[in-house]
């Protein structure tokens, strides 16, 4: 991975990003015929390749939705697996068009990286996983524990804050990739593995005996995860932002992959706007009138994607919780489409 960051640093220095900075990402993607999407190196439920090399997951669906909106084909994507520490450099250098890789939205990331978050695909929080045999029931009992963490994440800083704030000592061992971190935890090098709660559930599936490990109840941070694009291209920013909102709006209106064609015939003014039979919202974004249909046909609405990848319909079985619609007790909410 070191080589990747070196190459992109040099590319940055040599100025390959001139074209990227000149606010033409949508056109560049169209001309290339391919969306370049930065994803994780394998986090079940969010972005991971199956045994045939097909990428699936909630983060992957965002990329597929963008691809569907542009090309009417959810498969015109080049997936670029990135470690936590290389992801921003890859975006800055123009190697990828969008970073959809369980990345936490923070103020300093919005301001110093030359990139912006477009929305929140998953409201997460950081938690801890320990072996059941340790008989620990709360994170406050972790004084003097060894903690395995993936380096280059907000997780590392939250961890320091939490232990310092609670006057507890700990030893941190930071690894370059998530797999190395999980392996070290499994080998017994650490007592505790920490990352976002969704990640804990996902990684627990990778362990030899998942039932021997327990996720502690404490959630020590706010981790709103979302896609990122480079600064300086407002049109592209809008495309990525509204792709997610289209998925959420579809769920709000009850549009699903199954009833899509039926709903498209609806006479309701709201439906007509969304499906593009009235007005030109899609064209205002630089897309086509039927962009929402294309998205829903490819990946379903937000709720469908959630269930399929991380929710009840997946191995992870995570409850909707905060990620439910605002009308159903969660905080997922799309601005009006008009």
């Amino acid at each position: 991975m070191k080589r990747v960051s070196l190459v992109v640093t040099l590319a940055l220095a040599a100025g390959f990003s001139v074209q990227a900075a000149s606010a033409q990402t949508l056109k560049t993607v169209r001309d290339r015929g391919m969306l370049s999407c930065g994803v994780s190196q394998g986090l079940p439920g969010f972005s991971s390749p199956d045994d045939k090399g097909n990428w699936t997951g909630l983060d992957v669906d965002i990329c597929r939705a963008i691809s569907a909106a542009i090309f009417n084909d959810p498969s015109k994507i080049k997936f670029v697996p990135l470690s936590a520490k290389d992801r921003f450099t890859a975006l800055q250098s123009g190697e990828i068009d969008v970073l959809s890789r369980n990345t936490t939205w923070t103020l300093s990331r919005d301001t110093t990286l030359g990139a912006s978050f477009t929305g929140v695909t998953y409201y997460d929080g950081q938690g801890f996983m320990v072996k059941k045999a340790l008989k620990v029931n709360s994170a406050l009992e972790l004084n003097s524990a060894s903690v395995c963490v993936q380096q280059g994440t907000t997780t590392e800083q939250n961890l320091a804050d939490y232990f310092k704030g609670n006057n507890m000592k700990y030893e941190v061992i930071a690894f370059g990739t998530n797999d190395e971190t999980v392996k070290a935890y499994e080998s017994g090098r650490c007592d505790v593995f920490t990352t976002d709660v969704s990640g804990l559930y996902a990684d627990r599936l990778k362990l030899a005996n998942a039932a021997d490990h327990v996720v502690l109840p404490e959630v020590i941070s706010k981790e709103p995860l979302g896609p990122m694009v480079r600064h300086g291209d407002d049109q592209w920013f809008d495309v990525v932002k509204w792709t997610l909102y289209a998925m959420i709006t579809a769920e709000e209106l009850g549009i699903t992959q199954k009833n899509l064609d039926e709903m498209a015939k609806s006479d309701k003014p709201e439906m007509k706007r969304v499906f593009g039979t009235d007005g030109n919202l899609g064209e205002q974004l630089g897309l086509t009138k039927d962009w929402v249909s294309r998205i829903v046909r490819a990946v379903g609405n937000y709720g469908e994607s959630f269930d399929r990848n991380v929710g009840a319909g997946s191995k992870l079985g995570i409850a909707r919780g905060l990620n439910n619609l605002w009308s159903k007790g969660g905080i997922q909410y799309a601005p009006p489409m008009r």
Binding site: S5, T89, N143, S146, Q157, D191
Partner: protein, 400 residues
């Protein structure tokens, strides 16, 4: 400028011409000048372009981030460090960890390398085959694989802290590393240290005197019993008067881990083991080639003087072999230092891991951080090769 007044200026000019332009004279000089100018222009373009791009994308640039609070912790640090220190401190912590693993790795790699080389040249069939097998096995496996082997296969097999292997209830070996009692100086420490120092200086003086006597009058003085007596006896006497110079803080298992004592983390052990055994395989071959490069007659001459094999090697062969060995040995030292950056795979907090890894990711300032890191490795390498050249120059001089 020390120009001798008698020297005619034309000769100075032609010397200058040859120095600057080589055989081609002035035209060569102009070509070189153009080349340098072109290089400078390319460098300027790169810097200017990078600046423009960074500004266009509103990426923060500059070195101001070095003063910001790091906010994350590190598992091993040679200087006091906490999460509320700055990124500059993180840089120092990472640099020292890199230097620590490099220096200790170089020491063991050299030691093992020399021993394996001598073993491979030994007339003992079994020993030479074992050493040959070592070289062929180790140098043909990828280093990253070996680091992971030591870390995941060997050290992970150790028990958890609660079941750790203990020696006299003071040394504990577990998958958290090796915990040893921590020495703490008492009031008697200073006189003890002074006594030890005095004894060592006296022992060195004595051996110099003995050597002088040997060359001057051929008289052999047995130095080591006196030296040993002084180095052990004098500090012991002082300790009896002032009391024990050190007490030891014994580690105790508390909660998840050991409290008190000093700890060697398994990441450090795995990295040092892998780096030193791997590099030793190459050093062994370099040393072997150096020894074989010394003319056979030298060894025979030594034997005919009645010297034993060990003495022939130590006094005659190795000093001559060193001339051949040193340059490629320097290469291996540099390789070891650079290879230590593979540490990130096993979570050892070296410079690449904490600075070019975590710090880069937190600040996003790739160009500055990669630039600093490359500069540091370059500097370490240049200093190492300068020291080795100095050593080579001294050997060359001492042999005339």
């Amino acid at each position: 400028m020390a120009i001798e007044p008698r020297k005619p200026p034309s000769q100075l000019l032609s010397n200058l011409q040859r120095a600057l332009g080589g055989r081609a004279g002035w035209s060569g000089f102009v070509l070189q000048l153009l080349f340098v100018a072109a290089l400078a222009w390319v460098a300027y373009e790169i810097v200017a372009n990078a600046r423009a791009n960074l500004q266009a994308q509103q990426i923060t640039a500059g070195f101001g981030f070095l003063a910001n609070t790091a906010g994350f912790d590190v598992s091993q640090s040679l200087v006091p460090y906490s999460g509320s220190d700055s990124y500059t401190r993180v840089f120092l912590v990472g640099l020292l960890n890199t230097l620590l693993v490099s220096v200790i790795g170089i020491f063991f790699a050299t030691l093992i390398g020399f021993l394996v080389a001598l073993g491979r040249l030994s007339p003992n069939w079994l020993l030479s085959r074992i050493c040959g097998g070592y070289v062929e096995l180790i140098r043909n496996l990828p280093l990253l694989f070996q680091i992971l082997f030591w870390y995941l296969a060997v050290l992970a097999a150790l028990p958890s802290p609660r079941q750790s292997i203990s020696v006299f209830d003071s040394l504990f070996l577990s998958n958290r590393g090796l915990v040893i009692p921590k020495p703490i100086g008492t009031a008697g420490f200073e006189p003890f240290a002074v006594a030890l120092l005095v004894a060592i200086v006296a022992a060195i003086a004595l051996s110099r005197y003995a050597r002088h006597q040997l060359f001057e009058s051929g008289r052999v003085i047995k130095v080591w019993p006196y030296a040993l007596g002084m180095v052990i006896g004098l500090p012991l006497l002082i300790a009896l008067i002032f009391g024990a110079p050190l007490t030891f803080e014994t580690p105790v298992l508390r909660g998840f881990n050991f409290a008190g004592g000093s700890r060697v983390i398994p990441e450090f052990v795995a990295l040092t083991l892998a780096l030193s055994t791997y590099t030793a395989a190459f050093i062994a071959e370099i040393v072997r080639s150096g020894i074989l490069a010394v003319h056979k007659g030298q060894m025979e001459a030594g034997s005919s003087l009645g010297l034993q094999r060990g003495s022939v090697l130590r006094l005659i062969v190795i000093p001559q072999a060193l001339r051949v060995i040193l340059p490629p040995l320097t290469n291996q030292y540099l390789n070891l230092t650079k290879n230590s950056s593979l540490a990130v795979a096993i979570g050892y907090p070296d410079l690449v891991s904490v600075f070019a890894g975590t710090t880069l990711s937190q600040t996003g300032q790739a160009i500055e951080i990669i630039g600093i890191t490359m500069g540091v490795y370059l500097l370490i390498s240049l200093v190492t090769s300068a020291l080795m050249s100095l050593y080579g120059w001294r050997i060359g001089r001492s042999m005339g």
